[in-house]
Point group: C2
Chain length 256, copies 2
């Protein structure tokens, strides 16, 4: 029987939480939206010195679009939200609200125009990728960010968009196994892998469909912080991690 590590699931309010709440309150005020938990104190400028904890130094951006797949995004967010050096933020072309394929509306922290350089980017899949592969603004944004990222990642058919941007040229990569023909048809320059929960090639990490993204997210944690930290984070979320990138129960038929 595994002995779970100390939980990170249920934490008290940290400096990061306060910073996020302040940012949330300010954007909500600007838009005239009521916000739960907002009160006068949360509108004060964040001050890491007063709370004793430094703000996270780096940013990990989730790139959203209309009809993204819900779990492609929020499995990784759950795991990456526990990293000590990376703040998870959301980005979409015009900022504002964006709806997933399952109808949940998420607010984007940044638009393409006001995005800083991010250390890590992740693009999810979903029905909306059928539009995004033909969106020059998306492809340009990905190319520009990718020039200076530490890691460029995708879940599900997000890799089809990276492929169309030329970012995966000559690289090994994978994608959703249920949309494999469409996704791999977006570029002949990629070495597509039909049997892989996720694939690492240099700084590029691409995962198979939907739930595979959560396993990939922990794989990235392992790359940056080592296996013990990845296991600690998984257990904090009571997550049964499929930690072998080659263990793919949903591989395409006749895959090597």
């Amino acid at each position: 029987m595994r002995q779970p590590a100390t939980s990170q699931t249920e934490t008290d309010m940290t400096a990061d939480t306060i910073n996020r709440r302040t940012a949330l309150a300010m954007t909500a005020l600007a838009a005239g939206i009521p916000i739960l938990g907002a009160h006068p104190a949360s509108a004060e400028a964040p001050n890491s010195k007063s709370t004793g904890k430094p703000a996270k130094a780096k940013k990990l951006a989730i790139i959203l679009f209309d009809r993204f797949e819900t779990l492609d995004v929020f499995g990784p967010v759950e795991m990456w939200g526990r990293l000590k050096d990376y703040e998870v933020v959301t980005v979409c072309q015009h900022g504002g609200l964006v709806a997933s394929s399952q109808g949940i509306e998420t607010r984007c922290r940044y638009s393409f125009a006001d995005s800083p350089q991010f250390e890590i980017i992740m693009i999810p899949g979903g029905g909306g990728t059928r539009t995004e592969v033909d969106n020059p603004a998306m492809l340009d944004f990905l190319r520009n960010q990718d020039r200076a990222t530490e890691w460029t990642t995708s879940v599900c058919t997000g890799s089809a968009v990276l492929a169309r941007a030329g970012i995966l040229d000559g690289r090994k990569a994978t994608t959703n196994k249920k949309a494999y023909a469409w996704a791999t048809g977006q570029s002949q320059a990629v070495q597509w892998q039909g049997r892989a929960r996720w694939v690492v090639d240099g700084k590029y990490i691409t995962s198979s469909g939907v739930s595979a993204g959560t396993d990939m997210a922990l794989g990235l944690v392992e790359k940056i912080y080592g296996r013990a930290e990845a296991v600690r984070i998984a257990e904090g979320a009571e997550y049964i991690w499929n930690s072998d990138p080659d263990n793919d129960p949903f591989a395409v038929k006749n895959a090597r």
Copy 2:
């Protein structure tokens, strides 16, 4: 090797999608928020006859609050978003935006005041449950909804809030195993289970921490639609379903 069923992951736009997009566009317009994919046609009144598909007849409500746990919500949303009869909607006390513990902002479709009776409700866990157990508005809302739900469910420490509302009195239930002492301390009237991925007692289904919610969500699909449908949905999301509610790798020590 499992043979995955036909995918539901990557779908074309349906009547439901159009209805959701219309609702999203209207709320965004009211709040002055730009929205991706919004265009004049999406502001038209939805008409199921014109699209040939009926709207979903029932509503499954996710009850949100400040500092909910991200994956508690979005694992189940991914699975329940594929149900043919239930529309997944979000609710929070005052409506508007609410931020998860991982800093992602989600918009609530309903406030407590304008919520209809929901057929299914789910309350997640997260640091915010420490506040919600003492929030009379939340406890009243849960009690009032519970009187006529088909199913009342929770993930993680969400069951602590249900317990404080008296909803689980005399029932078997479980909760987050990393916050077990606090959660079970909220009520002595519940038969707390220290070893369970999730627990079904009548119309009440409670899960263990975070990731267990996704397994529970598929367990509910099995209860309503049968095992084949639950497996189909899991495979559509390339999800490795822990389908045995008694298989709990994170059980508390010395649990029966």
